[in-house]
Amino acid sequence: MNDLLQVRGISKRFGGLQAVSDVSFNLGEGEILGLIGPNGAGKTTLFNLVNGVFKSDAGTIAFWGKDITGRSPDQVVHLGLARTHQIVRPLSGMSVLENVIVGACFGREKQSMREARTTALEVLERVGLADRANSSARALTLAGKKRLEVARALAARPKLLLLDEVLAGLNPTEIGQMISLILSIRDGGVSVFMIEHVMQAIMNLSDRIVVLNLGRKIAEAPPAEVVKNADVVEAYLGFPDIVDKLRGAQ
């Protein structure tokens, strides 16, 4: 598997807080890589470093054979790396369709308005928002806004999609729909790097998982191994031997 994304030793400090320190990992083409960790572990900060919202204090980031360290988010999208936001950010005064047209117009292919409209309608169909195309983005439910985030990012025709907690706040039916969407995105040739707190979902979706705690990477392994990793269990639950204790209690 070829590496699409190579992250080497990136760090970010905010004043006295070391949000991310010396994190390295690779993401292969066609892979779904999960990113988990307790609250405040630095997951979203890591996303912000990868797509250029923050500049890394050290290290390098390479994407699709290009060094993207220090590039701004708009340049990174043009190269094929799109993302969604954990706290949804619809362009509220615009329609759902217009939101997605923005994604297509300013994405990797920098489509014309006419092409972008076609792309946007296609993508809306795919994420299940086609019937809401002309309503105001403000009027969508949370689940709708999360889909809109995904639609806008997809309209950019990315090679790699960063999904920041797209399942949070959704009901079980909506989670099921989103999971099939993510799998279909991957089958369409787009690699996925996703932050998620819904454990069952991320364990089933991910090929591999990176675990962050207090800004450091404490594990990187397939899901089955990650759940057995003593450091990971301790980071989440506080007791290194809790797995054994729970097993003993059964």
Binding site: N51, V53, S72, P73, D74, V77, H78, R83, H85, R89, P90, L91, S92, G93, M94, E98, I101, V102, G103, C105, F106, G107, K110, S112, M113, A116, R152, A156
Partner: protein, 321 residues
């Protein structure tokens, strides 16, 4: 595309009516009234590109008009240029200067940007008031010979009038063109959420600098034309802060973000102001009324008259852009 939009034709009709009406019976008083309306429309529709389209409040918009007047008058009187190349050169020069300012101050957002635009206005006025070549605080006068290439003063005033009407039509068509373009879409995205727009791939820094510069061009051309018509310029009339504020009132009254709103608000407010200024009892009151009007609009109809129309008849959105 443009030819299929009703508002495009309405703009042409408006310009034609403006051009034709005062010629009828050589009505010079009407011409002077209409030229003020046209200038208000030029300033407001270009201001709309910043406030309405991009979401950046520019309190110093009048600086483009004043600087355009200075550059134009300088070229005409000192360098003996013809009116049209002088006005166009003024537009280009002021646009380039705005691009330079824009790259600096557009790093600021919200209230900080708005404050910086007041700073730009004050700084330019202070500079011009002390600039030897532009006559410092006494300004410059248009010499009588400058009217000669246009066939004497009487003819020159009419020519200037038609040029101002043309600039008015161009301003509205420019706004209309940007509104449905990809560039305009990028601006709207910045207005709604600048950080989200950047993550979606909009080069916000560049877009903002370009629109700030574009919004300077036609006001500067209009400034060159108007101060030529008036025959003189000095710093206090070129950079009148009140005019900047009134531009914002006009835009809010008509409906920010819409082409028709900027024209409607400018037209209505300008007529009201002229009436108040010439009425013996109310002349000192016009700013009080402007302030009250702004408060009422923001409180009762935040989308202005056009926003109100959209609420009453949602389908009008397609026609009255």
């Amino acid at each position: 595309m443009m030819l299929r939009r009703p508002l495009f034709w309405m703009i042409l009709v408006l310009a034609a009516v403006f051009a034709w009406l005062p010629q009828h019976g050589n009505n010079v008083a009407l011409r002077e009234d209409l030229i003020l309306v046209a200038v208000a429309i030029i300033l407001t529709s270009n201001l709309n590109l910043m406030i309405g389209y991009t979401g950046y409040v520019n309190f110093g918009h009048i600086v483009f008009y004043g600087l355009g007047g200075y550059v134009g008058l300088y070229l005409m009187t000192v360098r003996s240029w013809h009116l049209i190349p002088a006005a166009l050169t003024a537009g280009v020069a002021v646009s380039l200067l705005a691009l330079l300012f824009g790259l600096g101050i557009l790093r600021l957002r919200g209230a900080y940007f708005a404050l910086a635009t007041i700073g730009v206005l004050e700084a330019v006025q202070a500079f011009v008031s002390n600039f030897e070549s532009w006559g410092r605080s006494t300004g410059m006068y248009v010499s009588f010979e400058s009217y000669a290439p246009l066939g004497g003063p009487k003819h020159a005033l009419w020519s200037t009038y038609f040029l101002v009407i043309a600039v008015m039509a161009l301003s509205l068509i420019l706004s209309l063109g940007i509104r449905r373009s990809k560039f305009g879409l990028g601006l709207f995205a910045i207005r709604e959420d600048e950080d989200a727009a950047i993550v979606l791939g909009v080069n916000a820094t560049l877009y903002k600098a370009i629109i700030y510069s574009v919004s300077a061009f036609l006001p500067a051309v209009a400034g060159a034309l108007m101060f030529f018509k008036n025959g003189m310029i000095d710093p206090s009339i070129a950079f009148e802060y009140m005019l900047s504020l009134e531009g914002i009132v006009m835009l809010m009254l008509g409906g920010q973000g819409t082409v028709a709103g900027s024209a409607l608000g400018a037209g209505l407010y300008e007529r009201l102001r002229s009436y108040l200024l010439t009425s013996p009892r109310l002349s000192a009151f016009h700013l009080v009324i402007a302030g009250a009007l702004l408060l009422l609009v923001i409180r009762l109809a935040p989308g202005g008259l056009i926003g109100w129309l959209y609420r009453l008849a949602p389908r009008s959105r397609e026609v009255i852009e």
